[in-house]
Point group: C2
């Protein structure tokens, strides 16, 4: 004998008014008098009424739900972005539906379809490792469902994106390594088709060039960049295989850099004396490894907040996000022991 669900019809009957008035009263419609509104509100509370979102969504064609597609939940960076998004969304009365592609394009396509069928009001996405064709996102654009990319973005005229200046950050941190005396800096990074890695690579190369250092392909180590394959030794091994040994390494992920550092240390390399290391993200791990890791502070929580706020404001027609091409957040270098060949500053 489950307690029956209360509807506006029940409230209407109770107060002997029409359901339409109840509906308007509950939504604070101006055509309803103060007095009636109060009666309705009170009765609704007393009877334990809760609005049926489906009936409402069915009528209004809105869900107050935002879909988020990310590559994986269990990454410090992603979890932090999500935390920021969730905060803003929940403050604004939106629910978040989150799904992970696990770096797999097939799954990303499936997720996009699920979101589409769930009729989310908007979508925030960060692409999987090797997604190139984004036609699975076209459905949103066609149906005018706002779509926004963050971090791993795709430049599309109908999709704003929220990013940091990866090029500049990479340029800056590479320059720092050079300034510390590095002459041969390897770059460990991910799939160069992804904007984040491509931009960092360009920044890195430009810094070398501007400082009279020559870039050769030998210096580029492409890696899967997965924090979760556990102690990854491949990259470290590849570094060690280079002859003569590099004296600097710019690794585009702190967790990954931490694993490399461990392997290098095990191989008897001294950091930063033999090789100076710089990471990316300002993962908490960067402050815990020995020596502490020089890195780029990536405002992940803020990125989540900004992305969510931008999308929600657009949904509410507060602002038109389609006027925006991209939002670039501030990032800054954090210099720590792992790169200080010249000794502490």
């Amino acid at each position: 004998m489950k307690s029956k669900e209360i509807t506006i019809y029940d409230i209407a009957k109770e107060l002997d008014i029409s359901p339409a008035t109840v509906s308007r009263g509950l939504r604070d419609h101006p055509a309803i008098s103060r007095k009636t509104k109060k009666k309705i509100m009170d009765t609704a509370r007393a009877m334990g009424y809760r609005s049926n979102t489906f009936a409402s969504s069915l009528r209004l064609k809105r869900t107050n739900t935002i879909g988020v597609i990310i590559h994986r939940l269990d990454s410090y960076f992603v979890a932090t972005v999500l935390a920021g998004m969730e905060k803003v969304a929940s403050e604004s009365g939106y629910n978040l539906i989150i799904s992970q592609s696990l770096e797999n394009t097939e799954k990303e396509i499936a997720n996009a379809n699920t979101m589409f069928n769930s009729r989310v009001d908007g979508v925030m996405a960060s692409l999987a490792y090797d997604t190139e064709d984004i036609s699975h996102f076209e459905v949103f654009i066609e149906k005018k469902i706002p779509l926004l990319f963050f971090d791993r973005v795709y430049k599309h005229k109908d999709c704003p994106n929220v990013v940091i200046d990866n090029y500049k950050a990479a340029y800056e941190i590479t320059s720092h390594l050079i300034e510390q005396g590095c002459k041969k800096i390897v770059h460990v990074t991910g799939n160069l088709k992804r904007n984040v890695y491509a931009d960092r690579f360009e920044g890195y190369k430009k810094a070398l060039e501007d400082n009279g250092l020559k870039y050769t392909d030998e210096l580029l180590i492409i890696n899967y960049m997965d924090e979760h394959i556990g102690p990854n030794v491949d990259a470290a091994k590849q570094i060690l295989a280079i002859n003569p040994l590099p004296d600097g390494a710019f690794i585009t992920n702190d967790a990954f850099a931490a694993y490399c550092m461990r392997e290098l240390k095990l191989a008897g390399i001294s950091i930063p004396k033999d090789i100076a290391i710089a990471g990316f993200n300002n993962d908490p791990i960067s402050g815990l490894v020995d020596p502490n890791l020089t890195t780029i502070n990536y405002p992940s929580y803020e990125m989540g907040e900004v992305a969510a706020r931008t999308l929600i404001n657009h949904l509410r027609e507060v602002t038109d996000m389609m006027l925006t091409e991209s939002i670039v957040l501030k990032s800054e270098m954090i210099i720590r022991g792992s790169s200080l060949k010249k000794g502490a500053q």
Copy 2:
């Protein structure tokens, strides 16, 4: 001119049959002939039909959505649990709505209400740091919406929980410290009202007792256990303030333990020689700090999978989870350098 949404009525008109047949055809109802079904399916695909979930939910009183309430997304442990949940849920056609309490009971209450109003089919929750009264969850129980707790659980006759044996794990790791020669072991942990911390505390005390060591309140350091307050030095300071200095520490969170280790090392303490350290969770950080941290492997991803599977099977009436009181997952100790006073094994 946004393309109009296709409904079963459109398909019905196109094929000159009734909407009822279309509905049944799409859901593979046995009363519809093979031939008609095929026609319906093909036309639906051709016309770009997508089912309207609200209309369906309104009718069926189901949402295929599961609510998850956690304390915070940006915690390694939580993110990993969520990853496991998301995997299982998405495989089974369920969406996950995730909201974080940020360790705040007020927000947890608000989240529970949102979930309730969103009419989730079921809920998985891990309690906030100091939630004691769980009456905000009673609505689910009253409305027979299955509710399951994981990790930070609350024993309630209508709510199964998924946990590890915190008592045993703590007993084991404390015994290990003792076996390594520790005579004075401090315990750094969280709010003892939370089962996870209470159970670990009991296991720790029992291990001391069984080995003839005396427990005194001086050895207990209660801390907020937040990985995100950044370099937390309080606990480390408190340890250093104890006279004579302890020779062992069991800290119930790896990230937290890592921060403590850093502070202790800065204070000139040698680990494990002066103080042996043990953590909890098997956070990746445990394998990166120096020395590597002895810890308990907490099967977080598996916990997420198990919790989600249990709830979904219940929703699908495959199994009746209400027959289960709790599911205890295996955990095991991982011995690493931070606790090996007697040298590597």
